[in-house]
């Protein structure tokens, strides 16, 4: 019985794919046959024709100048944006001063108590330990600055996201408008969000907070809408049947029913906000990110690590605590203990701890209690540079690998992409996107790719693309291999799980530190960081996809005497096709995000343009590059996005 389900699916799949695929390719071939000679006669050169570019530099520079000239006089700024900016500054300041007033003892006590209440004793201990570690590394004040910024940004993101999600959850029309926008925002690299806010708000905390909100609100909005829409129909019908008004229905049924999604949204928002708050140090967010940024500029790996460790600790603690809180709330086990008494207790403990510290004159983290890890780390790095960096017998040093990777992989890929005539790049994009999606996806992908050319950034875009392709190739090979191993062996899976958990919560910025130490500066370290960042997601999706393959089909294959390899090739991989495609899509999106940040470590191309734009105050260059990044991201997503549209319809 089950064998019947195995073999047809294996035989039908290519067959089902082949017919429409051939048709689509034929259409493209005809289009190409008509258009290419035409284009070729007009522009013989293979690179993007100059006539087809539109220079945005002048209007953007004019806009940027106008903003600087009018920021202190135009009513729009005085009566609206000024207040926004002011509100951000005041609220961040209020939180920051509160945190400082509580002192290290107060903050540690309060957060540990909160963690205890929502997530249990073990996580409370972990939280306290993490905070103390931040102090121990001499990073207490930057940590508090980052926390203050995060608190405001998360609050704003959650409110904005919730309201948007509510609107999309209740109104079908708004949902249709918002969903593609939110979906697209989800795939864009964080770096692309920095420039527009800098244009309006200038460098500084307000810009950083707003960029964070823009980046972190979409997941909240998506999950809120999803939760509201995913509510059990019969429950809602039951609520209606009892005569509930629209408001009662929303407050007593729809929102409580969506609370799991809402909490997941809060968790995601916090993680994205942390990631962004760190990256936003490039536009003056201050705090921990700024320390990393400073250290990167002087390739001071020790200092970067001292600031990077608190970021990782914060990320892990925030993730675990919000996850645990979500699970507890979602567990429906009826444990609802007295809230107010607990709040009073926590407040009292905080005040007591703060007072005790103040009386002891130890409100600030005592300097004597810091451990300077920068020195020893830098020693180790120096030793590595001296011994492992270059000229190691037989294997070569890490810098040699980086050099070889650059000249044997990155350079050929880039040359090949640049050698391809521009129309053939567009054709390839069209073919890939159409094969995997609809003509609509193909059109979006082609237009997005063409837009990079129109913006005059064809070459740097292809440069970035070459880095993405190289990184994705390595990521997929490694990710699929490890993913298959994890799916087939419970022990590998057990070993990998905590590692992946930690890696997946780390902000993108952190990955730049070790690669600079190992591979120096250039495109190779950027690609390496991208690979390390994207790998966990690819491994996880692959392993899950393989494990979720219909057990009956596997059992049937085994009963026919299939070997392990045959099972994998003939049953698991074909049935997990969708998950594997999703892994590719996620891999591409994550790799792009880090390749762009790679501009900070010499990755060049589009990321460099953004850094340059920020560094030189040349917003026109930066913004155009930012738009090109958006286009590239859109194109890559469409080319690798398999069935999300169909799945989205059902939801």
């Amino acid at each position: 019985m089950a064998t019947i389900t195995v073999f047809p699916s294996r035989l039908q799949l290519p067959g089902a794919l082949r017919r429409p695929a051939v048709a689509k390719l034929a259409v493209l071939a005809v289009a190409a046959a008509v258009l290419v000679p035409l284009l070729n006669s007009r522009w013989t050169n293979g690179t993007w024709p100059h006539e087809l570019t539109v220079s945005l530099t002048r209007p953007l520079t004019a806009a940027s100048d106008w903003v600087i000239d009018n920021r202190d006089s135009n009513p729009l700024f005085l009566y609206f944006l000024g207040h926004v900016s002011n509100a951000v500054v005041l609220s961040v300041r209020a939180v920051y001063l509160t945190l400082l007033a509580a002192g290290w003892a107060g903050v540690t006590a309060a957060t540990a108590l909160v963690a205890w209440r929502v997530a249990g004793a073990r996580l409370a201990l972990g939280t306290a330990a993490a905070l103390l570690a931040c102090g121990l590394l001499g990073m207490w004040v930057p940590t508090m600055q980052t926390l203050a910024l995060m608190a405001v940004a998360v609050l704003a993101s959650v409110s904005v996201g919730f309201l948007l999600g509510l609107a999309a959850g209740l109104s079908d029309r708004l949902d249709r408008v918002l969903r593609p926008v939110l979906d697209t925002m989800q795939i864009l690299p964080a770096f692309a969000y920095l420039l527009p806010v800098v244009l309006v708000f200038g460098i500084g905390v307000p810009a950083a907070v707003l960029a964070t909100v823009v980046y972190a609100a979409p997941p909240m909005a998506r999950l809120t809408a999803l939760g509201l829409r995913g509510a059990d129909r019969e429950v809602l019908e039951a609520v209606d049947s009892l005569g509930a008004t629209a408001r009662q229905r929303l407050l007593t049924a729809r929102l409580p029913l969506a609370r799991k999604d809402l909490l997941l949204g809060v968790n995601q928002t916090i993680m994205m906000a942390l990631s962004m708050a760190v990256i936003a140090s490039v536009i003056g967010a201050g705090g921990l990110g700024d320390r990393v940024y400073q250290a990167l500029a002087s390739v001071d790996v020790g200092a970067a690590l001292a600031a990077g460790i608190p970021i990782v600790l914060l990320a892990v603690v925030l993730d675990r605590v919000t996850c645990a809180a979500g699970e507890r709330l979602g567990a429906d086990d009826g444990r609802r203990t007295a809230g107010w008494a607990y709040v009073a207790l926590a407040a009292a403990a905080t005040v007591a701890a703060a007072l005790a510290a103040r009386l002891a004159g130890r409100l600030d983290w005592p300097d004597a209690w810091t451990v300077n890890i920068a020195g020893p780390v830098n020693h180790a790095v120096d030793w590595m540079t001296a011994h492992l960096y270059s000229g190691v017998p037989y294997v070569g040093g890490t810098a040699d690998w980086a050099g070889r990777f650059t000249s044997w992989v990155l350079d050929p890929v880039r040359s090949a992409l640049l050698w391809l005539p521009w129309w053939s790049v567009l054709l390839i994009v069209a073919a890939l996107a159409w094969l995997i999606g609809t003509w609509r996806t193909a059109l979006t992908a082609v237009l997005a790719m063409a837009a990079t050319g129109v913006l005059g950034l064809w070459k740097p875009s292809l440069d970035t693309l070459s880095q993405v392709l190289a990184a994705v190739a390595v990521t997929l090979v490694a990710g699929f291999a490890v993913g298959i191993a994890a799916a087939r062996s419970a022990r590998v899976d057990r070993l990998l799980r905590p590692v992946l958990d930690v890696f997946q919560t780390m902000p993108q910025f952190v990955y730049l530190i070790p690669v600079v130490a190992l591979f120096g500066v250039g495109r190779a370290p950027a690609v390496a960081a991208a690979i390390v960042y994207a790998l966990p997601a690819v491994i996880r999706i692959t392993a899950q996809g393989l494990r979720q393959v219909d057990a009956a089909a596997l059992e049937a294959a085994r009963s026919l005497g299939a070997t392990g390899g045959q099972q994998l090739r003939q049953v698991q991989l074909p049935l997990a096709r969708e998950a594997l495609l999703l892994a590719v899509n996620q891999g591409v999106v994550l790799v792009l995000a880090v390749v762009i940040i790679g501009g900070l470590v010499g990755g060049g191309a589009l990321g460099y343009d953004v850094v340059f734009g920020l560094a030189q105050g040349d917003l026109a260059t930066g913004l155009v590059a930012g738009v090109a990044i958006v286009c590239l991201g859109l194109m890559l997503d469409r080319v690798t996005q398999p069935t999300r549209r169909r799945a989205g319809k059902g939801a």
Binding site: I68, R71, F77, L81, G82, H83, S85, N86, A87, V88, V89, L90, S91, V92, R93, A94, Y96, T98, L100, A101, Q145, A148, A151, V152, L155, F201, G202, I203, G204, V205, S281, G284, G286, D290, Q294, L296, A297, S298, V299, D300, N372, N378, D382, S390, S407, D411, G520, V521, G522, L600, V601, G602, G603, G604, F612, L614, A615, Q616, G617, D618
Partner: protein
């Protein structure tokens, strides 16, 4: 979290009800002046010489004048904007940004001059001295095309490589290469640290290289370099960024303060106005930070301990 909500709510409420004009060009950093401590916020540019200025200024402000010092890494051009908005109080080393000076100092009067740093800066193209000895004529730009093949690398393709550092530095190199019709490609290392790493790696193997570099710089003590002569600088020859075809000027480096801070900054402002040292002093501290890997604070302490006669004059009475 509850407290956060409350404060944020109160803040927002206060703002919306007190609905006057809000000029966001006059909003300080939220982290400044925390808990009544007098705070000075200094911009830290990304090169070591400027970090040396900040390290010593910070050390003296904290230990002699009892200030709390926040530092923010910020590039030169954005620093001007931040200075104007009061998000930073002082910029201790500026290499000449006439446009910004015109806008913020003369027109808006939000930034005030604070005198010279005592150091003169100069940007140029340099080759290692060992290479200049081998090929003495390489130090004239007219002969650079002859030697282009020497400087070829993987990143520069078929042309010679002219290595630039951080994207944030003042540079006319792309225009120079074009206007002087040189067979070279400008390659950005991404940061100064990266550039230094590259230079030292090349010097170790006595490989040829051509780099954008500047004085004062501690690296000259480690890797002797000789400047390549470009067409001489004349006033105004660099006015049009696209048509530049002359050398970089010698610039006396300047200090700038936020205008409000300059007026009301008390002893800190006066101290920063007085801050003035020599190229040797700066290089000494920079070398301690960059080569001996001391923290800026340790380096500053070392210098302060050995040069009391220099800094005692800076302290306001």
């Amino acid at each position: 979290m509850r407290r956060t909500t409350l404060t944020a709510a109160v803040a927002v409420l206060a703002l919306t009800t007190g609905c006057g004009a809000a000029d966001m060009t006059r909003q300080a950093s939220p982290f400044a002046n925390a808990r009544g401590a007098r705070t000075v916020t200094l911009a830290v540019p990304s090169w070591v010489g400027a970090q040396a200025n900040v390290a010593v200024a910070q050390y003296l402000l904290e230990h002699e004048l009892d200030y709390r010092v926040d530092t923010i890494q910020i590039d030169e051009v954005p620093a001007w904007d931040a200075l104007s908005q009061g998000r930073i109080d002082a910029l201790l080393e500026d290499w000449g940004h006439p446009e910004q000076e015109q806008l913020y100092v003369r027109e808006k009067k939000t930034v005030a001059r604070a005198g010279g740093l005592g150091v003169t800066g100069h940007i140029g193209w340099f080759v290692p001295t060992y290479l200049a000895r081998q090929h003495p004529d390489i130090t004239d730009w007219k002969n650079l095309n002859k030697y282009a093949s020497l400087f070829r690398t993987a990143e520069s393709g078929g042309k010679g490589q002219l290595m630039d550092g951080s994207p944030s530095y003042i540079t006319n190199d792309k225009a120079l290469v074009k206007n002087l019709k040189l067979d070279y490609q400008v390659v950005f290392a991404g940061s100064e640290a990266a550039q230094i790493t590259q230079i030292r790696q090349s010097a170790k193997k006595k490989k040829p290289f051509l780099t954008y570099w500047y004085e004062p710089q501690w690296l000259f003590k480690k890797v002797p370099m000789t400047e390549v002569k470009l067409p001489p600088y004349k006033k105004g020859c660099d006015a049009d960024a696209a048509k530049v075809a002359c050398a970089y000027p010698h610039t006396p480096l300047q200090k700038y303060l936020n205008a409000d801070f300059a007026r009301n900054g008390g002893r800190a402002a006066r101290f920063l106005k007085n801050f003035r040292w020599t190229t040797e002093d700066q290089n000494e501290v920079a070398l301690l930070i960059a080569d001996r890997k001391l923290t800026p604070e340790q380096a500053a302490k070392k210098w302060v301990d050995s040069h009391p006669s220099v800094w005692k004059k800076w302290l306001p009475r």
